[in-house]
Symmetry: C2
Subunit: 207 residues, 2 copies
């Protein structure tokens, strides 16, 4: 991997082509577009890119180059989230199959992270998180949440889920609502179980 710059250029050109034209470039397109002097050199680098898993091609199909990075991510809609019930267990792997419905979302919104899923909010118990009945929250499955990030928290004593910004303090945990007009609540670390991190909230008006 001595000279990756040319491969970067090629990837960039493919991206640009796909975006601009709507279809993939040919070897010769890439040759012209990247100022490369022979088709076989392009071929050579495409083979490497494919071996590295950066692109995919179908043999014997013209213009079949696809970037592995995708613009649209299919997010499985795994169920509902409501105050009184824990959020559905996330069985990584079997995921997308189980999902009755799947939500299509651009990477603009959720980035390129993996292991994300969506939940539909049931009821108005999340109003303090500025989340309404019917909204959709997109979650990342993780137990590690940094201070200040919004997490889905299961409160063991209260037996309920809540979406709050989480802050660790000396001997307690502060759970702060997104709505700055509402007060934080405090609880002991043993009482909280982080069930995931909120990545985004979607609200569709009028269907």
């Amino acid at each position: 991997m001595r000279k990756p710059e040319i491969r970067e250029r090629i990837l960039e050109y493919i991206r640009h082509s796909l975006d601009e034209k709507g279809y993939a470039p040919t070897v010769r397109d890439i040759m012209r577009g990247c100022n490369i002097s022979s088709t076989s050199l392009v071929q050579y680098h495409l083979n490497i890119l494919e071996r590295e898993g950066q692109i995919r091609r179908d043999p014997e199909v013209f213009r079949s180059i696809q970037l592995v990075e995708k613009d649209i991510i299919e997010v499985p809609l795994l169920g509902t989230i409501a105050a009184g019930e824990p959020i559905p267990v996330v069985d990584s792997g079997t995921w997308t199959n189980h999902a009755e419905e799947t939500l299509r979302v651009t990477t603009d919104l959720v980035g390129r992270r993996g292991d994300i899923y969506a939940l539909k909010v049931k009821g108005t118990s999340m109003l303090d998180a500025l989340i309404n009945d019917g909204d959709i929250v997109i979650m990342e499955a993780t137990q590690t949440v940094a201070d200040g990030e919004t997490a889905a928290v299961w409160l063991k004593n209260e037996q309920e889920v809540t979406l709050k910004k989480i802050y660790r303090e000396p001997r307690r945990i502060r759970l702060q609502p997104a709505n700055s007009e509402m007060k934080s609540i405090y609880t002991r670390p043993e009482n909280v179980e982080v069930q995931g991190k909120v990545v985004a909230v979607l609200r569709k008006l009028e269907d």
Copy 2:
């Protein structure tokens, strides 16, 4: 347009192909995939579809069929919305050019309607609409809003914008916050100027 079924089948196949494989089918692919008995018949129908504006092709480029219907819509981010200032004037047409930034959104979220734009919320004045500082609202440019839909309303006397569900009553207009715990406000019809309809709300957590 006597027999449009076959063209429907072709469109469906192209959609499927694009989605599944990631690239457009060839005339011969379509032939096989739709049980059509000759390439020229496919060609014939593709020409019609192109004339009708349903697909686009680049002459002399293999696999260049593109559906005109798009999965991703580029929404121009036209500016900010805050309580104290009217929302930016929407100069239909010149739109996308002016936009410094553009938001990519799937049709899952906003449907296929045209004339939509995005605004970034500044400040916490929209909390009663369950909209926070930094959220993005996607608007449809329209003056006609049905009862119960959420609209961006400019209140002339108060000189401020607010996002509320709108209901016409006998001699007044009821503006109801999305947050069901907050009270509606009432005003005279002359005082309200509908500036658009809210289509969706996006909230990106942690950048």
